[in-house]
């Protein structure tokens, strides 16, 4: 018995030793910078000189001076960016989930060329986001783009459309590219979940003569929804921090600017570390809040309990 105890305590000591490289790296690369960003948001630091700054309290967030409100929370650009981010996240994730499940159902049947189809699905996902952004910018080009050419030839539009300049269409274009790029991810996760649904569930329904659509909504969907909920939260988190597509396709225009794009512009282009950090920190808290609400609402248990 004492030997066993000593082995297990030895193992625990070894465990902490093995954890230490990861803990050190994560501390330096994640926790410390996060804390520093939070701290910078309370200062007037600039990018030129990050060592000399004054503590300014919460005035980067909100301040009242000479009869006017200042700070991120009163900044109309921030509100626009927040609205854009939420609109983008909600629309794109909804579309990706619906399309992803539809495609997964399609691929869950056996047919010739299914393997090829599955391989093709990985293509948009494997293409670097920057490359996708450039490819689609070129396809959506108002003068020489292939999308306008196709639509003109099909008679769907009578003159070329400025996809990336029009306020509504530019957001729609960004959503389209994101849907193109990430629906396959949702579809693959949904497909994996579908394949774990026991076959007899379908058998029983088929014997009872239940319509396939009813089977889908009453049997399949409830069974795959836990896996789907996880996929959706991953996608939502990703969508809330959207940066690359917007930065490359439309830049910092009011119609599409997301919070990440706004934060980087304040931080790097305008060199205002204090203000930029406040924008970043608010995004962090918004995401943390949304995640907790979602996890409670979905009663998600992401696995910590299972040893």
């Amino acid at each position: 018995m004492p030997r066993r105890a000593s082995i297990s305590s030895q193992r625990v000591r070894a465990a902490w030793l093995f954890l230490s490289p990861m803990l050190v790296i994560l501390a330096v690369v994640a926790f410390w910078p996060l804390g520093r960003t939070l701290y910078f948001s309370l200062t007037n630091a600039t990018l030129v000189d990050m060592t000399h700054y004054d503590f300014v309290g919460l005035s980067n967030y909100l301040a009242y001076e000479n009869g006017r409100w200042y700070g991120v929370l009163s900044d109309p650009q921030w509100r626009t960016a927040l609205r854009n981010t939420l609109v983008f996240a909600i629309i794109s994730v909804t579309l990706e989930t619906i399309l992803g499940v539809l495609i997964a159902v399609l691929l869950n049947t056996t047919f010739r060329g299914r393997g090829f189809m599955r391989a093709a699905m990985l293509v948009p996902w494997a293409i670097p986001t920057v490359v996708s952004a450039q490819m689609w910018s070129w396809m959506l080009n108002d003068q020489f783009g292939v999308i306008n050419d196709i639509l003109l030839k099909a008679g769907a539009i009578s003159e070329p459309v400025a996809w990336l300049a029009d306020p509504v269409l530019s957001m729609a274009s960004i959503v389209l590219v994101d849907v193109w790029k990430t629906t396959p991810f949702v579809a693959l996760l949904a497909l994996a979940a579908l394949q774990m649904v026991p076959k007899d569930c379908y058998e029983a329904a088929r014997v009872d003569g239940v319509h396939p659509v009813r089977v889908f909504f009453h049997v399949t969907l409830p069974l795959i929804s836990p896996a789907l909920a996880v996929a959706v939260i991953f996608r939502l988190l990703d969508a809330m921090r959207m940066f690359d597509l917007v930065y490359i396709m439309t830049g910092a225009t009011d119609a599409t600017m997301t919070i990440s794009v706004l934060a980087r512009r304040e931080l790097v282009d305008f060199q205002d570390v204090g203000y930029g950090s406040a924008v970043s920190t608010l995004l962090f808290f918004i995401i943390a809040l949304l995640t907790s609400v979602y996890m409670v609402a979905m009663r998600l248990d992401l696995g910590g309990k299972r040893p």
């Binding site: 082995i7 193992r11 070894a14 465990a15 902490w16 093995f18 954890l19 490289p21 990861m22 994560l26 690369v29 994640a30 410390w32 910078p33 996060l34 520093r36 960003t37 910078f40 630091a45 399609l106 047919f111 189809m117 391989a119 093709a120 990985l122 494997a126 293409i127 670097p128 986001t129 920057v130 490359v131 450039q134 490819m135 070129w138 080009n141 003068q143 783009g145 292939v146 693959l188 996760l189 994996a192 896996a227 996880v230 921090r241 940066f243 930065y247 919070i259 990440s260 980087r264 931080l267 930029g276 920190t281 995004l283 962090f284 943390a288 992401l302 696995g303 910590g304 309990k305 299972r306």
Partner: protein, 275 residues
């Protein structure tokens, strides 16, 4: 009759989906093989094949250097993440200790950090270490998204291996380090290949940090180079060059993904579904 109609509808749906998935890449390839005024005429089939753009990006831009940078950064990121994650996953997946699930949740929490939330703090750290405009700074900063993910996936795999595997080794008096390298490493190889590839892709595609922490063309990675390719004039984007560069960095990645398809899907879904 109804059955036949259904099959036709199904085939059409599949066909449309395929076109939607693959057409952008096809069109990029088509564009990359055109030059001059041909570029600005929309065509759907290659009329003549011109490798001019491919030659130009190698000779006029520092594209070769950018590719070398990306390969170096991604390889180092994968190597370091896997080594650190394997030992951490052993501790988290095989040893019972107080605070383990808190730690797992914390790691999951880090993978939810928006990258922008650490940008200014990380900028400071990188400057203090003298790593600004240096590939080492990128390798270091990429740990924030590759490490939590690799630890998480490897832990789920490690946890599912039967206890008996280790018991014999423990009775033989082998230490944990030997157990990890001799017993778990071979068993974990498939999982490590999949997570390694996912980490490689994540590092290869990363844009925000690479854009912010590098300054000169020589230190840029491929995504930044492609985003910032400039033409003869400020207002004219050299679409031919951009598409040629895009095709070059995409095709190897797609080849890799298709070859490792099965394992990749297993790795992707293990992270989400099993967790």
């Amino acid at each position: 009759m109804r059955h036949l109609l259904l099959r036709v509808a199904f085939a059409i749906a599949c066909g449309l989906l395929l076109v939607f998935l693959l057409f952008p890449l096809y069109y990029a390839l088509l564009t990359s093989l055109k030059s001059g005024s041909e570029l600005f005429r929309v065509t759907y089939w290659p009329a003549e094949i011109d490798f001019g753009n491919y030659i130009r990006i190698w000779s006029e831009q520092s594209f070769a250097r950018n590719i070398a940078n990306s390969i170096l950064v991604s390889t180092c990121v994968v190597g370091i993440s896997l080594a650190v994650a394997l030992t951490a996953a052993f501790a988290l997946g095989r040893v019972r200790f107080a605070g383990r699930s808190t730690l797992l949740y914390t790691i999951l929490g880090i993978s939810m950090f928006p990258q922008i939330a650490v940008l200014s703090g990380l900028f400071e750290v990188i400057r203090v270490f003298g790593l600004y405009n240096n590939l080492a700074g990128l390798i270091f900063s990429y740990m924030i998204f590759t490490l939590p993910f690799t630890v998480w996936v490897l832990t789920t795999f490690m946890r599912d291996l039967p206890v008996e595997i280790e018991e014999a080794a423990i009775l033989d008096g082998l230490g944990p380090f030997v157990i990890i390298t001799r017993i778990f490493l071979p068993l974990m190889a498939p999982a490590m290949a999949a997570t390694g590839l996912l980490a490689f892709i994540a590092a290869w595609n990363e844009f925000l940090f690479a854009l912010t922490f590098t300054l000169s063309n020589e230190q840029r990675t491929v995504p930044v180079a492609i985003a910032l390719i400039t033409g003869a004039s400020e207002y004219e984007l050299p679409w031919g060059n951009v598409m040629a560069a895009s095709v070059i960095v995409t095709l190897p990645l797609i080849a890799l993904v298709l070859v490792l398809q099965r394992r990749l899907v297993a790795g992707l879904t293990a992270g989400a579904v099993k967790g």
